[in-house]
């Protein structure tokens, strides 16, 4: 009787655990191998830089076509995200306006200025120059603020392609970094 009760508790625990975890996981569309299509050339990871700082990268197996409404996974443009994470995989840029009450529809709000206010930039080039940085939320080390930049691949509709994201962290002398 006691063993049956213990087994019942174990099964209940297992079911509750699966029920809690399952919605947060998926089995498809996940990248287990590193995407090597983009390689950030500079600045080097953990290096110290001064503003303005130019992020440059090399790209392969990806056609830079710009925002042309295409939905392929091998063509599009680049999203540059400063001190923030990109939108989740498969989401368009309008995702950043999803909670903005002032937007009639999120897509209407998405202008370069609107995105820049949120430290999100897009480009068809393989480099991007940052002239100003927000105050770092990552902390500071010896008078230098820690910042990061993430490059993500966007399709022609501005949707993030897959899970790939390319990341660099660098230190910026504090006085020059504050907006």
């Amino acid at each position: 009787m006691r063993r049956a009760a213990a087994s019942g508790r174990a099964v209940t625990t297992l079911l509750v655990t699966v029920a809690v975890l399952a919605p947060g996981c998926a089995a498809h569309g996940l990248d287990f191998r590193q995407d090597t299509r983009v390689h950030i050339l500079r600045p080097h990871n953990d290096s110290t830089v001064e503003l303005p700082v130019t992020i440059s990268w090399r790209v392969g197996d990806f056609n830079v076509t710009g925002p042309d409404d295409g939905a392929g996974s091998d063509a599009g443009y680049f999203g540059v995200f400063v001190d923030r994470a990109p939108q989740p995989p498969g989401q368009p840029l309008s995702w950043f306006a999803r909670h903005d009450q002032s937007c009639a529809t999120p897509a209407q709000c998405i202008t370069p200025t609107y995105l820049a206010d949120r430290n999100v930039y897009t480009t068809t080039l393989t480099q991007f120059t940052i002239t100003q940085l927000p105050r770092s939320t990552l902390g500071s080390i010896g008078g230098r603020e820690l910042h990061d930049v993430t490059i993500a691949l966007l399709d022609g509709q501005g949707r993030r392609i897959g899970e790939s994201a390319f990341y660099v962290e660098f230190l910026v002398k504090q006085k020059s970094s504050v907006v």
Partner: protein
């Protein structure tokens, strides 16, 4: 009034027997006092028939657990970028995981409290966290990450709660320091292995963080499955159980063992989870070691974060350089732990106090080395000093563990381990983070590291001070186990034991000790008087018996069972009721509701409660007339009647009455005492605390007299009347009060 029967074996005899066994018990705990070389571990294991497998299996589990933790620490930016969740969300998920790890050992301890199933839980949780690690690779949202990390944190609580107590029970006492040192070294080795695994999977094989977690989870699963043959040997196989067997053998020589005839069921008197935790914190060594653990936590947890910043800021070390630095220092710690095992064992065997003092010195040495490292102008000097400091700190882990686990019975070790971890991670980790952060804001990173000398030295002194306590606490534990077993054997053999036996009670209010080695015995159906001057400790002794106060040492046995540390509420169910001094009623509540509140422990049987309330009203007709009146509006005598009705409602086997007659008219006192006589005549044993010697001695045959926290008289009431030296103090006090002085 029943005469006090002579116990077949009195508690003092048992105590004397326990003294004889104590030396043998100490040897069973591994404290032999020998100063020579310790035999090689493999020789001990072979002679004891124990293999290496449990140590290897648990070491692999602890290494496997580190993979996921390390992976999450270094791959957090990639996870953030992939999932599109902020670093704040990642930090929050990590904080929840840390909280889960800190709290999980407690439920783990609760799960093994009644049954020794630490092995199966260790393996099951190992499988669980491996699956969660694999699951981390399939997470697609912040909520998923939070869920999987929380589940992982909860399941890995078995490491800190169960592994060490399990190892202590699997391996014999003469091998424990070495086994714990080697097990701890596995944790340090994981600090080398985890970066290598991440570097291999991500750097060489080209997997993303998802791949890293999947691979780490699979490796972890292999380790967990490799531990499937792990078996729990039961609680205290080499020590507590052995002590019990020794005590039983000792009893067999003097008693013919009859079939078990237990008066109280084990479940009625076995300690609950929080009772065990509270009991542990009453042990002086444990209390101090918890403080030492908290300080150790400051050095072990938040300091590591500041060290990373120090290495980056002062020496410009990037992630790779820092990884190599940490791997190197961890490697030195592994070597130090492997070297420490044998001398540590020797020190413990000779005198456990030595290992505690050594721990204190090592901690002091570690903080000095850390300060010197922070100030070192030479890079390699800095690395060497930090490596030595970490090696000293690593040695502290087995030293602290063996100290804590030696002074408590085996069943409580998972609780002690859990508490250690909470003090280490929860108290030390959190407070240390605040402390060091504040220092960092004012004095910078080097100032922060140097500031560690303050808590470090305090912790060292506290830890070293346990050296003077641990032997006494080991003896106390041995004594308790032996005494408990012997009493059980006496009960089983049909021998007579007093209903209540308090022995060697010490009690303190904070730092002020008010009871000193107090003994008191009450037999079934007996009425005894407990007399003494004001502030002698009479009421405090009643509090100890009823469970409102817990003694710092000594035992309270009721119907043969140890009840020293069980909750007051449970004691009421066992049949112990106290009527506190003063007006022991709830003033704003009506008379009948007071009675209902007394009947709380009778449960939901309303009819039984009503019957007993009616019986109380029949015994005290004046209360019946005032049944709906607020208790505060009753006269003093009526309030005491109401208080006494508690005994009529609960029908206890032992009634403790504190100052029943205080401030009442003689006629009312007479009525109340008649009722006490009646209650006693119906079979309830009574302990009557009284200021009035005349009243008390009129009622009882046996009396106790206390003065300044000590029991000064224990004998027939007539004998006390002849002791002018004692009674004068009471009479003089009464005279002084009467004259208004």
């Amino acid at each position: 009034m029943p005469r006090r029967p002579a116990p077949d074996v009195d508690v003092e005899t048992v105590a004397a027997g326990a003294e004889e066994l104590r030396a043998a018990g100490r040897a069973a705990m591994g404290v032999t006092g020998e100063t020579g070389q310790v035999p090689p571990l493999r020789k001990i294991l072979r002679s004891r028939g124990v293999g290496w497998y449990p140590l290897i299996a648990l070491s692999l589990l602890v290494i496997a657990d580190q993979f996921q933790s390390y992976g999450f620490t270094v791959l957090a930016p990639e996870i953030s970028a992939t999932l599109g969740i902020s670093k704040g969300a990642i930090a929050a998920a990590l904080a929840v995981k840390t909280l889960a790890i800190a709290l999980a050992p407690l439920p783990m301890a609760a799960l093994v409290q009644r049954r020794a199933r630490r092995a199966v839980l260790s393996v099951a949780t190992g499988v669980a966290w491996s699956v969660f690690a694999i699951g981390t690779g399939f997470v697609i949202s912040a909520a998923g990450l939070l869920a999987v990390l929380s589940a992982d944190g909860l399941s890995s609580g078995s490491i800190s709660g169960l592994h060490t107590p399990l190892l202590v029970d699997i391996y014999p006492p003469e091998a424990r320091v070495r086994v714990l040192s080697y097990y701890t070294s596995a944790g340090s080795a994981a600090s080398v292995a985890a970066p290598l695994l991440v570097a291999l999977v991500a750097g060489v094989l080209g997997f993303t963080w998802r791949g890293v977690f999947a691979v780490a989870g699979l490796v972890s699963l292999a380790c967990a499955l490799g531990a499937f043959r792990l078996r729990d040997p039961g609680f205290g196989r080499w020590d507590t159980q052995k002590l019990r067997d020794m005590a039983r053998r000792h009893e067999d020589e003097t008693l013919s063992v009859a079939p078990p005839s237990s008066d109280l069921a084990e479940a009625e008197v076995s300690l609950g989870f929080f009772e065990i935790v509270r009991r542990l914190l009453l042990i002086p060594t444990v209390r101090r070691l918890m403080i030492a653990n908290a300080v150790f936590g400051v050095l072990l947890i938040p300091f590591q974060t500041f060290l990373i910043f120090f290495l980056q800021e002062r020496w410009g070390l990037g992630p790779g350089g820092r990884g190599v630095f940490l791997a190197f220092t961890a490697g030195v710690s592994v070597v130090a732990l492997l070297i420490f095992g044998r001398p540590g064992e020797r020190a413990f065997r000779r005198d456990p106090g030595r290992i505690m003092r050594l721990g204190g010195y090592l901690q002091a040495l570690a903080v000095v080395l850390i300060c010197l490292a922070a100030l070192s102008p030479w890079f390699w000097g800095m690395v060497a000093l930090f490596a030595l400091a970490f090696a000293a700190l690593a040695i502290l882990t087995p030293a602290l563990a063996v100290g804590v686990l030696s002074v408590i019975p085996a069943e409580m070790r998972p609780h002690a381990s859990a508490l250690s971890y909470i003090f280490l991670g929860g108290v030390g980790g959190l407070l240390g983070a605040f402390f060091l952060n504040g220092i960092d804001n004012h004095f910078g990173i080097v100032g922060t590291i140097i500031s560690l000398i303050i808590p470090g030295v305090i912790g060292s002194l506290v830890l070293a001070s346990t050296g003077g306590l641990i032997v006494a606490d080991i003896d106390r534990m041995i004594g308790e186990v032996i005494e408990d077993t012997e009493i059980q054997e006496i009960t089983r053999s049909g021998g007579h034991l007093p209903m209540l036996a308090c022995r060697g009670i010490d009690f303190s209010y904070g730092q002020v000790q008010v009871l000193f080695d107090v003994d008191l015995t009450v037999d079934d159906g007996e009425m005894v008087a407990l007399l003494g001057t004001n502030g002698a400790g009479k009421s405090t002794l009643l509090r100890v018996i009823s469970g409102i106060g817990l003694p710092t040492s000594g035992s309270v046995r009721y119907r043969g069972a140890e009840i020293t540390y069980i909750d007051a509420e449970r004691r009421v169910r066992l049949g112990i009721t106290q009527i506190p001094g003063g007006r022991a009623v709830f003033g704003p509540m009506s008379v009948v509701n007071n009675m209902r509140s007394f009947a709380y422990t009778l449960g939901a049987d309303r009819r039984a409660v009503d019957r007993r309330i009616d019986a109380s009203f029949a015994a005290f007709p004046r209360l019946a007339q005032r049944r709906n009146q607020a208790a505060s509006t009753l006269s003093g005598g009526e309030q005491q009647m109401l208080a006494l009705s508690k005994a009529l409602i609960l029908k206890p086997r032992l009634l403790l009455i504190d100052e029943l007659s205080l401030g009442l008219a003689p006629i009312v006192v007479g009525q109340l005492l008649d009722m006490v006589r009646q209650i006693n005549a119906e079979g309830t044993a009574v302990v009557l605390v009284e200021q009035s010697v005349n009243i008390a001695l009129e009622l009882v045959d046996h009396a106790y007299f206390m003065e300044k926290g000590e029991m000064r008289f224990d004998g027939p009431a007539s004998g006390l009347l002849a002791r002018d030296d004692l009674l004068r103090a009471v009479f003089l006090e009464g005279t002084a009060k009467g004259s208004g002085r």
